[in-house]
């Protein structure tokens, strides 16, 4: 067996063994799997096959997801690249008697496994995907594999972009022009297709446009969607085209990186060092954040804050420098997806549910989660609950703004009363704190370290469980007590607020007795 195969197989074997040697991780894995099973079984109940929505909608969603993931992953190539190698790989393999092409293949295989783990959240989508579109568990796994392939190609594209552009602003400008030019061309063509499509409503026109063969040429997302749909429909030709294009792209990237730029080690080294320092820093308690390349310091000094409130003031200064706006790109995308979903489904409650669902995926990105990785907040001589509240203060305007932007259009789409809109805004804002509470509770239980993929799985499951009581309250008030929708949503918000405060209170000691450690 070659050394690289030995390394790959033993790394995988030891990873599995490690799980069995760590009871907490094993329990976490089992709970995560149990939650997936729960989602699958609960999603299977009371499904009427006659009421399924058109499959074309699902295929359009798959395309949108893959396209978004590919673009977001590949564009990292303009910043610091994306490395599929560990620092140990760089130190031990790059300096050893290995062909650069062989090492690239090794890196690709290693990355494939990681990409698959990243897509585990897709499994939690079973319930609605099954209920709305009749998708099976096998379908979901196919979507997951397609997702992993998309991330994989995205990483390759990022590496390629980085290799070609590193060290030259001119090249970065050209590559950015080409990259965003291609995306813009597809977007414009899509809009053109929607405009000229003949359909009863905008949804049907969008679906016609999304099914256009031209979109199959969209990098990664186009042909992977084709392949995934091929598997779901048993269409061998589509599978062959999808798979063929995937392999073809892989070979193309491979050739471009390894042949046109044989000495890719330097580029990989830089990206690996960035990623390694991020991992090391995370392990060793240093905050990590995506900072702009050029930061304008501006006015210096905190100016305000005393005791615990200094944390909130510090966040204000950091956010100003980091150009962290109340509404970032991810929030805008979430809002657009929610509004589009509600518009097409013609159900504002479904839109509200979708917004809560999307919120689960993004709530961990606040500055509070970075704060937990540094020692200062633990050392500060202030009551833990007070520190926790000030640490989360910055999330209030962020969540409120996101919710306002998401739900104001609901008023114009559904012509509902303002109280319902206010209920939605408050409901989503409070739900944000509920999910933060869940995340903090996980920090409380497992500390800063732990297996990321398993923790994400557990986080998703627990968020869904935490949301259930509030939903039950709203449903009971709406269906049994026959209260207006606005009151039901407000009641749910109030219930969730109490639950969130309870969770925050239980997890307050995360700032006093946390297992803050670099192990």
């Amino acid at each position: 067996m070659s050394a690289l195969l030995y390394l790959l197989s033993h790394k995988a074997k030891n990873r599995v063994k490690e799980i069995f040697h760590r009871p907490a991780e094993l329990v976490l894995l089992l709970v995560g799997v149990a939650l997936v099973v729960f989602v699958i079984f609960s999603g299977n109940m009371d499904v009427n096959p006659g009421s399924f929505r058109p499959r074309a909608e699902l295929y359009a969603i798959i395309f949108a997801l893959y396209a978004l993931v590919f673009v977001l992953t590949a564009k990292n190539g303009f910043v610091n690249g994306a490395s599929m190698f560990s620092m140990a790989d760089v130190n031990l393999l790059f300096t050893g008697p290995n062909l650069s092409k062989t090492l690239l293949s090794y890196g690709l295989f290693s990355q494939m496994g990681r990409s698959l783990m990243l897509g585990v959240f897709i499994l939690y989508q079973y319930s609605w995907v099954h209920n709305q579109y009749g998708a099976t568990v096998a379908d979901l796994f196919v979507i997951l594999v397609g997702y992993a392939m998309t991330v994989f190609l995205g990483q390759m594209a990022a590496m390629l972009l980085y290799s070609f552009t590193s060290g030259s602003d001119e090249k970065v400008r050209i590559a950015k022009g080409v990259f965003y030019g291609i995306i813009a061309a597809f977007v414009l063509y899509f809009v053109y297709l929607v405009a000229r499509a003949s359909g009863d409503n905008i949804l049907s026109r969008v679906l016609i446009a999304a099914a256009s063969p031209v979109l199959h040429f969209f990098p990664a997302a186009g042909f992977l969607r084709l392949g995934v749909v091929g598997v779901m429909e048993g269409n061998v030709v589509r599978i062959a085209i999808g798979l063929g294009c995937f392999v073809g792209s892989l070979i193309l990237y491979y050739v471009l990186v390894s042949v046109l730029n044989m000495d890719y080690y330097e580029d990989v080294l830089k990206a690996t060092e960035v990623s390694f320092s991020a991992i090391t820093a995370r392990k060793e308690g240093k905050a990590q954040e995506m900072t702009p390349r050029n930061v304008k310091v501006g006015k210096t000094g905190l100016g305000k804050g005393w005791g615990a409130s200094a944390i909130a003031q510090k966040h204000n200064v950091e956010n100003r420098r980091g150009k962290v706006l109340l509404l970032d790109l991810a929030s805008v995308i979430m809002a657009v997806v929610t509004i589009a979903f509600a518009f097409f489904i013609k159900e504002m409650i479904a839109g509200f549910a979708m917004s809560i669902y999307l919120l689960i995926m993004t709530i961990g990105g606040g500055r509070w989660s970075k704060e937990l990785t540094l020692p200062y907040v633990y050392l500060m001589p202030e009551p833990p609950f007070k520190k926790l509240l000030f640490m989360l203060k910055e999330q209030v305007p962020v969540l409120l703004t996101q919710s306002v932007v998401t739900f104001i259009p609901f008023y114009f789409i559904f012509r509902c009363d303002w109280l319902t809109i206010i209920g939605f805004i408050l409901g989503r804002t409070v739900a944000g704190f509920l999910f933060i509470g869940v995340d903090l509770l996980l920090h409380r239980w497992f500390g800063v370290g732990g297996n990321k993929a398993l923790l994400i799985m557990l986080y998703f499951g627990l968020c869904m469980i935490a949301a259930v009581p509030g939903i039950v309250v709203a449903v009971v008030l709406y269906q049994i007590v026959f209260l207006p929708l606005a009151f039901c949503v407000l009641a749910m918000a109030l219930f969730d607020l109490l639950l969130a405060l309870l969770l925050l209170f239980f997890s307050r000691n995360v700032l006093s007795v946390s297992e803050f450690n670099n192990k």
């Binding site: 060793e284 308690g285 240093k286 900072t291 804050g305 633990y378 001589p381 202030e382 803050f516 670099n518």
Partner: protein, 232 residues
């Protein structure tokens, strides 16, 4: 004063610290020596209140997790941890505000001492490894703690900063502070320790006071114990 009474720290089945007890008085400098993996950083983190443990740790006779104890404690972590988006000066302002302390000029004095004053408006993300370490030390000292723990403080420092830090150690002792320094660079602390503790496999294997008259040097004792010798 720092008192550590029967502290045991376990990670699952692994015992990182085994029944550790020691005491460092006011105006004393203690050094914690040991090879990699001996458990030095773990006990330091327990004292800093960052880890759960069995036993008792008192800072000026207060439980180390009480707010009053936290007020009195300064901690320099093994890996410097700073905020990317805060300037050097703002780090110290933040610490003073967080500890509810007025700035009496200590912040600038510390920055000057560690040659950071001209970098006051530099962001955390722009600092080199050595500068990060210096800033981390300044953050730990700016609120004028009475018990200061240093985890491998010399790593990454330039000769000037090492000289300054050694002077800081002596000044802290002179001013009655309690200082605990964890290190594996014995020669860097040889000149000024009052107490020395040698750790191996999570436990103390030797304890020595500066007033002890022993023919064997601390360094020789360290190697004798950590390279398979008997407990002293």
């Amino acid at each position: 004063m720092l008192q550590v009474n029967h502290v045991t720290k376990k990670y699952g089945k692994l015992i990182a610290n085994r029944d550790i007890s020691f005491q460092i008085g006011d105006g004393e400098i203690a050094v914690l020596l040991g090879p990699n993996g001996a458990g030095k950083s773990t006990i330091i983190k327990c004292i800093a209140g960052l880890l759960r443990f069995d036993g008792e740790i008192l800072i000026d006779s207060l439980g180390n997790k009480t707010l009053n104890a936290k007020h009195r404690l300064g901690y320099v972590p093994e890996m410097p941890a700073v905020y990317d988006m805060l300037t050097v000066g703002e780090h110290l302002e933040f610490m003073l505000r967080a500890y509810k302390m007025e700035d009496d000029g200590t912040a600038d004095r510390l920055l000057e001492r560690f040659e950071l004053l001209d970098k006051k408006d530099k962001l955390g993300k722009e600092l080199s490894k050595g500068m990060l370490q210096k800033l981390s030390i300044c953050c730990a000292l700016v609120h004028r703690p009475s018990v200061i723990i240093f985890d491998e403080p010399m790593v990454g420092l330039d000769p000037h900063a090492i000289k300054q830090l050694k002077e800081v150690f002596l000044e802290l002792r002179q001013n009655g502070a309690t200082v605990l320094i964890s290190t594996h660079m014995i020669d860097s602390v040889e000149a000024y320790w009052d107490k020395a503790y040698i750790m191996k496999d999570g436990a103390f294997v030797a304890e020595r006071s500066a007033s002890d008259t022993s023919e064997i040097s601390l360094e020789d004792l360290f190697f004798a114990l950590t390279e398979g010798g008997e407990d002293a």
